[in-house]
Symmetry: C2
Subunit: 481 residues, 2 copies
């Protein structure tokens, strides 16, 4: 039996939090006086009143369980996107609600796919809000809320289970509230460092903050039409590269590093695999770009490293049009789109640790042909991965493929060509942003048909919440009893 | 310890069998007097002498084991292709040995990918041999040999395990030799029926036989440049459609049906799933072709059904250029290329039963989120699929994807565009023949670079032998001790 009263209560509390978050872009709008302040004030009022009344009407509710947790996680993202889209509509800058919802879901899921054809035409408040949805979504609106909801007397280990990205939530402390607060401080600290560095490198404070939000969340919304490429500044490129890699790595490692364990990354197999993938892909693509396009070797390196890191971390910032590159380079980038970052990072995609486990599992099956009786556990480093987790990861991979195929079929049925269908589905399910074909790095999602925008929004949500969290809601037995 | 003496002995015996098989195309060459007879006689002589000497030099060998079996299976295909390619080279009609090997491997693996730009320019003997390699490969050269090798005193349950396509070899009788003979008779019987029907429908005996070989093996080599489309005869189209479906279904079912159990297909979940997939895909593509291309509804049905069946059974005959169809139709065909036929058929690809099991497995993982303690076995009909088999199938799928990706990367690195790289790898690993892009239904493999032809030949072999049979040879522990 689902505890609807408690679900509404928590979701309402989160709307109050959303209303509070909207004060930041409202302040920006007030500061710059671009005319978008009222759009924020209306939204804040509506969100706050809805949240506060929902909250007080549903006090005195019972215990919440895992099943309620799944519903809360999925609907928090949906509600935030539904209401977070309003400033775009109220201000008249994105008149279509479908477009505004797509843009906001893309923000909160840290995807970075945009329907805007002229980003620079937006007022500062809306640009800030767009990037800020990334930042809020980045570490997980829910993980965020884990530091607030406990104050309201709501425990949430079940939420943690459903929320933290990746298969192996590295438990920093047994107390979930404390964990959330610690990770939050780490997230905030790194955010401040990147913003300051980008300012020093030549950005103004506004652009530095917005691009930091997009980096930390592996989101990818920029304030410029030509994305990061607009700045033509290698310092900015490499600062963002480093922070994209940081954002794509398990935050539990960063926490330990900041506590003084400096060699924590070296001992983490996933982080080392992640770095190796980036190095190999950058090398191959760099050679390719260098040879074909006749660039200076430094430019080829800069472009290939930036694009590889941006794609594999599922950020989606761009400094070069990779659709001008060779088939091989494009193919490698397409594969990296599926791969994604590390577990426990803000990155999307299948995730490095899953890929490592699937590889080892596959080779074990080969070995079993020779030694049918042998017990062959999957090992990562010194630890044995329990069989249930290996099975779960296989299931995850199958669903990823099935959803990908279903998505591409639907987009093709809506009239998209094959490459655009594949590109748009990959870029949304893996929360990247730019894809291939008609939604490549120099294009946008404006021309996708309305139905397609809703389908892609759904894929962003499902991809961001590690599939099962959302898909379980479609199982009849979820709603039974 | 591998029993090399026994391995050489069996492979030598099989070369004698190959020499005997070459008498059929030699007879055709003698009958038509096109000048290719000597090419066959040289090859027969070389093959027979090698085989007979190898056989007598390695008599008195010990017991063979599973490990030897893997080596025998893989090398029988390789040896047959190495020697079977010679008539093409000796006759001068395919001067490049790489091309001749590619064509022959394509024949024996029942792929049907061709490097020929003018098929009709070939003499009858070579055309017959080309199609006959399909027929021999179809039921499996090895399964074929199971009826012969036992006469030589060699048992072979381990061969059966490695050879019979698909994860569930339906054991007709406990005695392997008897099984092989029974299936062989069924195969021969259906072959004769199709040949006669094609003759009645309007083909000459030569074309009827060659197209039957291609159908029964789900191969796809035609004697005509425009494939089956050349005949412009709906009777021929539909006869071939029916026999492609038969060839793509488990032969154990046909055996039971011929023994009088007429409703055996209705009770087989895989066969029913197979038929449903064909029906749904034909319907969607038929509607699409009908609406867009303005064909008569009967023509649209004929074209869509033929192409769907040809692709899903991994045959590869063509009557229409599906690259002129919509993105959606092409995408469905691309997915069918991966799907393949039923286990125990001559079809390639992943196979229907594996896809069914993977789907059920995926949904079970979803259910486990709600009921973490529940035991949820994978069921097909009334039977529970053992956990080891489910695990093995997951591993198979992962390797299929990994090999596909690796293959596409290599082909792209060789300079092929993305669509051609994807099309050529899919069409060879799934043993179809025609793919997409530069190797589409109206193209051929002539322009693939030499390295690429060897890579694709390897993929045909690996795909045909259900991956593990070949890949295990690359495991260091296979060669140990």
């Amino acid at each position: 039996m689902l505890n609807y009263r408690a679900i509404v209560n928590i979701l309402s509390a989160m709307l109050v939090f959303l209303a509070a978050s909207l004060l930041f872009p409202a302040a920006v709008a007030w500061f710059y006086q671009d005319g978008d302040l009222n759009a924020f004030l209306y939204t804040i009022g509506l969100t706050f009143v809805t949240g506060i009344s929902g909250y007080f009407l549903t006090r005195n509710n019972g215990e919440i369980r895992a099943r309620d947790g799944f519903l809360i996680v999925s609907f928090s993202w949906i509600l935030f996107s539904l209401l977070g889209a309003l400033p775009f509509v109220f201000s008249g800058h994105i008149p279509s609600y479908t477009d505004a919802f797509f843009e906001t879901m893309s923000g909160f899921t840290t995807t970075g796919a945009s329907i805007l054809t002229n980003i620079e035409g937006l007022p500062h408040g809306l640009l800030f809000w767009r990037s800020f949805t990334h930042w809020l979504g980045g570490m997980g609106i829910i993980l965020l809320s884990l530091a607030i909801l406990p104050l309201l007397g709501v425990g949430g280990m079940q939420l943690f289970k459903a929320e933290v990205p990746g298969p192996t939530p590295d438990k920093l402390t047994p107390r979930i509230k404390h964990t959330a607060e610690l990770l939050w401080v780490v997230y905030l600290f790194i955010t401040i460092v990147e913003t300051v560095l980008l300012k020093i490198a030549g950005m103004n404070w506004f652009d530095a903050a917005c691009h930091t939000f997009g980096t930390m969340a592996t989101g990818g919304f920029s304030t410029k039409n030509a994305s990061v490429g607009q700045f033509q500044n290698p310092w900015i490129d490499y600062i963002i590269v480093i922070f994209m890699i940081i954002a794509g790595t398990n935050f539990a490692l960063h926490y330990r590093m900041l506590r003084g364990k400096l060699n924590v990354y070296k001992h983490d197999r996933e982080a080392m695999f992640f770095i190796s993938v980036i190095a190999v892909a950058s090398l191959i693509i760099g050679m390719d770009v260098w040879q074909r396009n006749g660039h200076h070797i430094a430019t080829a390196a800069q472009h290939s490293i930036f694009q590889v890191v941006s794609i594999v971390t599922t950020t989606g910032y761009g400094t070069a049009d990779y659709e001008q590159w060779s088939g091989l380079s494009q193919l490698i980038l397409l594969l990296l789109m599926f791969a994604g970052g590390c577990a426990g990072s803000t990155g999307g995609g299948i995730k490095m640790i899953r890929i490592m486990i699937l590889f080892k599992f596959g080779f074990n099956e080969l070995k079993r042909l020779l030694h049918p009786q042998a017990v062959l556990p999957v090992r990562i480093g010194n630890s044995v991965i329990p069989r249930e987790i290996v099975t779960n990861i296989s299931g995850f991979f199958l669903f990823y493929m099935a959803l990908f195929i279903l998505g591409v079929l639907i987009m093709a049925a809506l009239g998209l060509d094959l490459i655009t269908a594949i590109g748009s589905v990959t870029a949304t399910i893996s929360n990247i942003g730019p894809g291939l074909g008609g939604v490549g790095p120099t294009d946008n999602y404006a021309l996708i048909p309305t139905t397609g925008k809703w389908v892609l929004s759904f894929l962003m949500l499902v991809g961001r919440l590690e599939l099962f969290t959302v898909l379980i809601l479609f199982s009849p037995s979820f709603w039974k009893k």
